[in-house]
Amino acid sequence: MRLSKFTKASVYTMVAAALTVGVLAGGEARAEDGQYVPGMVYRTGPYAPGGIPWADGYADYFTLLNERDGGIGGVKILYDECDSAYNNDKGVECYEKMKGQGPTGASAFQPLSTGISYAILDRVRADKIPLITSGLGRADASVGSVFPYVFTLPVTYWAGADAIVQYIGQQEKGALKGKKIALVYHDSAYGKEPIKTLEALAAKEGFELSLFPVPHPGLEQKATWLKIGRQLRPDYVIMWGWGVMNATALKEAAAVGFPMDHFIGVWWSGSEVDMNAAGAVAKGFKAAQFILPGNSFGVYKDLKTKVFDAGKAKGEAAEHGTVIYNRGLGAALLTAEGIKVAQDKFGKKPLTGEQIQWGVEHINLSPERLEQIGFSGMINPVKLSCNDHEGGGSVIITQWDGKEWQPASDWIMPRREGFLRPMYEESAMAYAKEKGITPRDCSKE
């Protein structure tokens, strides 16, 4: 009996060993001609509800380009996914696995996780692959001279924090002095990003800032909200949440009777997924966005005929036009546009990460260009340069009316000159010093 169990175990071990050898032998690129675009997505794990629509939007846009235009400039897009589960270690593994695939290696990475972008921040510099952290990641990476391979377009968290405070200022007719603002944030690299900006703004505008960290994954917030709702009673609450933390915060805020229209989330806290999970109490909640939801934009016409109706969409029809799906589309647009601009310079063939870096750095999404590709109205124009990797994007505040997001403000331009930009520079230079990086001279390029 013993022996048979043992034999069975040995057979299993051998199967595992055989698979190991298989992995050793494989892992190489499939020989197919085209531009390889890696999709570092998360369709599993605690943050999957937000990760799935983004991944679908990202994939669908490349499907559209392949179906409608035969790729970019005639070069087919080879799109491939790897599931990171919003886990930094798995993200690093995905990155290492995907960076060398395709005929010319990975075009650009968009990990949709601040933690993962921190983890691969140094690696992309060594591997010469652009890292686009659209509305996430490290804000001071906007300084292109120190972070040549990292792009933060169209907005950073610091810009988002400034825009939200500007909006609160508009609501209060400019009188922020003495007001109390609380920040409820995911206690991770992501949630901590806006603190520095908000502290600087508190000093500048004279409001009182209180910080409330919420540990991962964010299901336990009762004490936080009792303190906010019963003790501190702030005028406004700003939230930097993601995943289940968002709906939990909305429910707890409602439980202590905090007015929803004084509760403003960053873009990752404002999606249909969270609002539907929170239910009726979410009505009136506001969120900053840099890409508007809705399916009436130009790009949807082609998406409908070439992708949705052709049965080639990754996800369900219900997610089309939602906040995060559109953000996935927008993110894909940035990668695609980077490839297109690079092709204009280097020729219409599969390009390397280093060439695409040039392309992304010279992205100019003018109103005309946005109209042409069907993103007009969905995203505001951005234009990058060697030193400015953020590109002057703007933010809009939206409000949940119980069914969908309605714009609650005009597009707000974050105060970059004289406020955010010097902060970026200071922080980036400290990073350069710690890492021994000599910033490149952008005046020569």
Partner: protein, 369 residues
């Protein structure tokens, strides 16, 4: 037939007491070392090196550490993640410490990486002793709960006090570029995976050798005595306080080095979240599956827990199946869970015991009685 020690006579005490008394074992061990040091760096590609072998080696150090404490000394601990975080943050502070500025020298000077790793281990050992104090009064599962305090307190501390991250706004630390020898960069993005791998492998071999030998000397025997029956151990003259705290110190030393290696040699940058309670459980599962109280088991367990998921996610692709990534991830969880249960049913004493049974069978093969 092949694996038989008949005819191998020991003529000295040294020969009798060596770690691998059977010649075949010695040959296997040296072959393994040769393969790991010479063949692997030549054969394996960068992906294999950087994302499969390095984390496996790092987790081997951590599970060695926990095996010392839990497997040999019998003190159940759930603080591994916290101790690893301590190691990582200590290494960060030590490596970014400008000795030149402290002592008024003109040139900036930094600690050598070897001392950074050792220092991280020593600091973690001190922290481990501190959190090991309750073990003098609490035993078994209750101790596990007490060590949870280390896990949560330490992570909270590194999250809360900006000094630990050199006032970084995001709370993320990243490894500064440093050289092992002039010209050989070992940390930072420019370091080649092969250099990192070889450094880490040497570290692992030294630490494993150290652990194995400590287990065979009076200290190891004292730990096993405490584990098997602490009152009896006390009666034969083993001082529980000193022995238990030594176990905590050594275990934390290993975990600290593992944490430093995780941050500096594997990911390159970490936030405290990377050492959450899940890591503690993972290391505990490693030693349970690998085999409690076995050096070999620590490696087998680490291999099982770190390599199998990678294999399962990449497996379907290699077989040419085009399965969506989310289904692969879910399959990974299911197969992995099933395999853990399977192995524990087949051999509740872990993979190390399975290995031992295999060796016994091999001795009799092909004529079992």
């Amino acid at each position: 037939m092949f694996y038989r020690e008949a005819g191998q006579f020991k003529a000295s005490y040294a020969a009798d007491q060596q770690i691998f008394p059977i010649r075949q074992d010695r040959i296997a061990y040296y072959t393994l070392l040769a393969v790991a040091f010479a063949a692997v760096p030549m054969v394996a590609n960068e992906y294999w090196m950087a994302t499969i072998l390095i984390p496996f080696l790092v987790m081997s150090i951590a599970s060695l550490g926990l095996n010392i404490l839990t497997g040999y000394a019998g003190q159940l601990s759930l603080g591994t993640g916290g101790f690893m975080a301590t190691g990582a943050f200590a290494a960060y502070k030590l490596s970014t410490w400008d000795i030149g500025a402290t002592f008024g020298l003109a040139e900036p000077m930094h600690l050598h990486m070897v001392f950074v790793f050792l220092g991280a281990g020593v600091i973690t050992a001190a922290v481990g002793v501190l959190f090991g104090m309750p073990s003098l009064r609490i035993k078994g599962f209750y101790l596990a709960v007490a060590t949870l305090a280390a896990q949560f307190f330490l992570l909270w501390l590194f999250n809360k006090v900006p000094w630990f991250t050199n006032y970084s706004t995001s709370g993320v630390i990243s490894a500064p570029p440093r050289e092992l020898f002039p010209g050989v960069v070992i940390t930072g993005p420019m370091a080649h995976p092969v250099t990192k791998y070889l450094f880490l492998l040497s570290l692992v071999v030294l630490l494993a050798l150290g652990a194995k030998n400590i287990m065979r000397c009076h200290l190891g025997r004292a730990w096993m005595a405490i584990r098997d029956m602490d009152i009896a151990a006390e009666i034969i003259g083993i001082r529980p306080m000193r022995t238990k705290l030594a176990a905590f110190a050594l275990s934390s030393f290993y975990c600290g080095i593992a944490g430093a290696a995780w941050a500096f040699l594997y990911t390159g940058s970490v936030e405290p979240l990377a050492f959450s309670i899940e890591v503690s459980f993972k290391v505990l599962f490693m030693i349970i599956i690998g085999g409690l109280g076995s050096i070999m088991g620590s490696f087998l367990g680490a291999a099982f827990i770190t390599l199998l998921p990678v294999l399962l996610t990449n497996g379907p692709r290699l077989l040419g199946l085009n399965i969506p990534v989310d289904i692969i991830s879910h399959l990974e969880f299911m197969i992995f869970g099933a395999l853990i249960i399977f192995f524990l049913i087949v051999e509740p004493h872990g993979l190390a015991r399975l290995w031992q049974i295999a060796k016994e069978k091999l001795r009799l093969w092909p004529f079992p009685y």
